[in-house]
């Protein structure tokens, strides 16, 4: 642990920094990044892989999801889809862990935001060199530029 700290200190001397901390040296308190809002443009985003739970394209401030009520389902339930034109939840949400189909949302899928998240209106603070399997399959030679 002490060795790592020493290493980090030396690293800061060379102006390396943790992008999540910002540019402040390790022995100073940095300025926190300003708060940002969630993207609210209602445009579907590409999923990074087929099984990815789609990210939420609108803000969900104060949406109540507890044992009393589920605000998300007010629009995204199967029975509400025609009225609201919101993407109804997929069949996977009605399956219990044995794959049996239930009449209503399975309790294991009830809490939407355990899997589905909003995206904030900001640039990602940490780099990402993830490659879509689609690119691998089509044989892209080099990885894409660091985002």
């Amino acid at each position: 642990m002490k060795f790592l700290l020493a290493l980090l200190f030396c690293a800061s001397a060379f102006a390396q920094h943790d992008p999540l901390r910002g540019p402040a040296p390790v022995d100073e308190v940095g300025r926190p990044a300003p708060l940002v809002n969630a993207e609210n443009n209602d445009r579907k985003r590409t999923r990074s892989y087929a099984m990815q739970p789609p990210t939420i394209p609108h803000k969900t401030d104060n949406y109540q999801v507890d044992k009393y009520a589920n605000k998300c389902l007010d629009c995204h339930a199967r029975t509400r889809a025609a009225d609201t034109q919101a993407t109804p939840i997929s069949i996977t949400h009605y399956q219990d862990r044995d794959g049996t189909f239930l009449a209503d949302v399975s309790p294991r899928r009830y809490f939407c935001e355990q899997c589905h998240v909003v995206q904030m209106e900001t640039k990602p603070p940490v780099g990402n060199r993830f490659r879509d399997v689609d690119q691998l399959v089509r044989g892209q030679a080099k990885p894409p530029a660091k985002k």
Partner: protein, 192 residues
């Protein structure tokens, strides 16, 4: 004693011999104005958020729930208080609601929703009463501030735009149909 009452009763019906017409009329009129002012001040005092939250049931339950919501704290600081949504502005309906408040006085005295458990048990019934009221008057309390004709759809998000132009403008739905739970938490929706 009976003699006293009989004398004053007679004085009530006899014309005044010692006080002028001017005094009686204008004095009565001024007193009436003062009374009406006091009456309305008292009425409006019961129409404030401060008054509502003197009751612990309101203060510890619904007042706590509204605090993180947009009707309490937001970018512009324009906010709604209890009577803005829950007391009709029209005088006749306001007075009717104030008389209906005797139910709340009853509840206060006989502790019908005194504890959190009792409150949660009765919550859906209370909520449905309010939703029915708003549905009946086409969300009038919402429209007191949120005027449809002044709503700039170009500044709304796409789904707000879609829903408002498709359902609200055509009169198919009213505000409360979709915006339940925007101020206070929703009750146990599964409860019958």
């Amino acid at each position: 004693m009976r003699n006293l009452l009989r004398r004053y009763w007679r004085a009530l019906w006899r014309p005044s011999a010692y006080y002028s017409l001017g005094f009686l009329t204008i004095g009565g009129f001024v007193a009436g104005v003062v009374f009406w002012g006091a009456f309305n001040t008292a009425l409006e005092a019961t129409n404030t958020e401060k008054f509502c939250i003197t009751c612990h049931v309101m203060r510890d339950n619904v007042y706590q729930e509204i605090q993180p919501t947009i009707h309490f704290t937001n970018r512009s600081g324009v906010r709604a208080k209890c009577p803005d949504c829950h007391v009709p502005k029209d005088w006749t309906h306001k007075i009717a609601r104030k008389m209906q408040a005797s139910k709340e006085v009853w509840g206060y005295i006989f502790r019908t929703i005194h504890t959190r458990e009792k409150f949660l048990a009765k919550r859906k019934e209370l909520a449905e009463r309010e939703w029915a009221r708003m549905k009946a008057n086409d969300s009038l309390e919402c429209r007191n501030c949120h005027d449809l004709d002044s709503m700039d759809f170009t500044r709304q998000s796409q789904r707000a735009r879609n829903e408002h132009s498709r359902e609200l403008q055509t009169g198919q739905k009213t505000c409360i149909d979709c915006h339940k739970g925007i101020a206070h938490r929703l009750p146990d929706m599964a409860r019958q």
